[in-house]
């Protein structure tokens, strides 16, 4: 797993600044094929910006992003999606006036490159997998928050990704809903899809991920087994100190 040739995703010395605010400082991060990596960190640590630089919504000032052994630093977001980099957004962005099925069909045709019946089958199976088949023909704008989050995931999966970036999919959900999502994310792991998961609901992460990384001030301050990272004094001070106050489940 440590062999660099097996890294599915690699960030090398990535730096990004917005004026005086630095969201990434010489940041290095690797994700192996099929691995599930959790990312924690206080608000403003640069987690979402990190995702934006991986998915291509944001371009780093310096450094490189490599995916499947290829430098994708200058590759546009839609090409990255076609290469197998799927993502969800923290605030779900459904195609509101399209049906759930059409939402997923967009990803199956443009992202995965399927046509006709193959596209319908891929989209249909993805809806089954994410538990969205029953609302397949509903307009996405009418969905509940949990359904929107599931749709985000379904759309990412329909691009046939090798890696999915999950941005706080558990945020705002009730405990039983979080448990449902955790089961779903675990099923991705079982099918060999690598996952990078940003989450404030730490117990959802620790129940799922192989590895945990903690981000603060645009740097990775801890990276390793979940238990080790959570026990790290820097992490406890930076992140858990705040989180314990707002999230009783952390302990």
């Amino acid at each position: 797993m440590t062999d660099p040739t097996h890294h599915l995703l690699e960030l090398r010395g990535v730096t990004k600044r917005f004026g005086k605010v630095t969201v990434a400082t010489d940041l290095d991060l690797v994700v192996s094929a099929g691995e599930t990596l959790g990312i924690v960190g206080p608000n403003g640590a640069g987690k979402t910006s990190l995702f934006a630089m991986i998915s291509g919504d944001l371009h780093p000032d310096s450094g490189a992003v490599l995916f499947a052994g290829r430098d994708i630093t200058g590759v546009s977001a839609h090409r990255r999606a076609r290469l197998g980099l799927g993502r969800t957004y923290q605030v779900p962005r459904p195609f509101e006036k399209m049906t759930v099925f059409e939402n997923v069909l967009v990803a199956a045709t443009t992202g995965a490159g399927t046509r006709g019946q193959a596209a319908a089958t891929l989209a249909g199976e993805t809806l089954d997998r994410t538990g969205m088949y029953d609302v397949a023909n509903r307009v996405a704008g009418s969905l509940t928050l949990l359904q929107r989050k599931r749709l985000e995931l379904a759309r990412a999966l329909a691009t046939r990704p090798r890696l999915v970036l999950l941005d706080e999919v558990a945020g705002g959900l009730t405990d039983p809903e979080v448990a449902e999502l955790v089961t779903l994310v675990r099923s991705l792991h079982d099918t060999g899809i690598a996952v990078v998961w940003i989450e404030h609901v730490v117990h959802a992460l620790t129940a799922t991920v192989d590895r945990l990384a903690c981000l603060a001030g645009g740097r990775v301050v801890a990276d390793g087994l979940p238990a080790d990272v959570l026990a790290d004094p820097t992490v406890r001070e930076l992140y858990l100190g705040q989180a314990v106050a707002t999230d009783e489940d952390v302990a």
């Binding site: 459904p94 059409e102 967009v106 045709t109 249909g124």
Partner: protein, 342 residues
Amino acid sequence: MSTTRETAPRVSGGFRVRRDSRLSRYGMLGLVAVCIGLAGLPYVVYESVTSSLVTLFVLIAMASMWNLLAGFGGMASIGQQAYVGIGGYTVIWAADQGINPFLGIAVAALFSAVLAVPTSLLAFRLRGDYFAVGTWVIAEVYRLLVIKSDSLGGPSGRALTGLSDMGLTARNAATYWAALVVAVVCVAAGYLLLRGRVGLSLTAVRDDEIAARAAGVDVTTAKRIVYLVSAAGCGAAGGVVVVDALSIQPTAIFSVQWSAYMIFIVVIGGIGYLEGPLLGAVVFFALQQYLADYGTWYLILLGVVAAASAVWMPRGLWGQVVHRTGLRLFPVGYRLDRTDQQ
């Protein structure tokens, strides 16, 4: 515009996709019947009726194109008069080369699309409000270029030659049919574009550009396709305007009022619905016919209708119809069913 290929359920793999409902098939049949009826109109009504309908068809064509551009591509242009003007002048130029002006309308569509390529390279560097203003400026530049050209008649314009040997009745009928064909082709092109794979991407772009990109949609290419189609349609409409008027004047043909008409029609008809511009054009045309005598009050009333519609009916007239009845004349959606059900 055959839909039989798509209507047959595609069975295999446990899922099947349906594109249209019985309701939309009847709607489509009705629409085809209306077109056939309209095509026969010059044989049964006075020329005054058909010649006023030319205006309606031109409005339908232009508004359909603006709806594609703004309603699906998210490009709220106020510079589509650039292509109305280019199309108009192309017909004039084609007539000079001995090309029949009716054929010239097709040339106008083509040439407008060709000029839209470099124009889009420039305009696409702008976003939102800047895009809107930028397109207007580009249209003004085209107008000034034409005014500087002596062969195109300069600021006073030109008369259209090449139709003098046609009888008045025959010419009026031919103009009417040309306008009808342009309107039908514009609406049909929008429908076919949205029904295809590009349409799925475009509809996604309409709803959320960033999410569309993350799903793998090449947003810029999708937008460029729409921009070119929209330029071609407006060019053809401009060609019809010139054939109808038998003359051209740069300030009128490049007037921003064309864009104002398009926006008005699409907003009251329902932006982002293919049916919207049809309904909106009919309403606008009726207002124009009945209120034109009131001069300034007519314009004030148009403004009030547009503002009221934007505030209280943001989905437009067709949006209301869809909301209440679910009726779509142009089935561009996809419905998923299991093959083992029903």
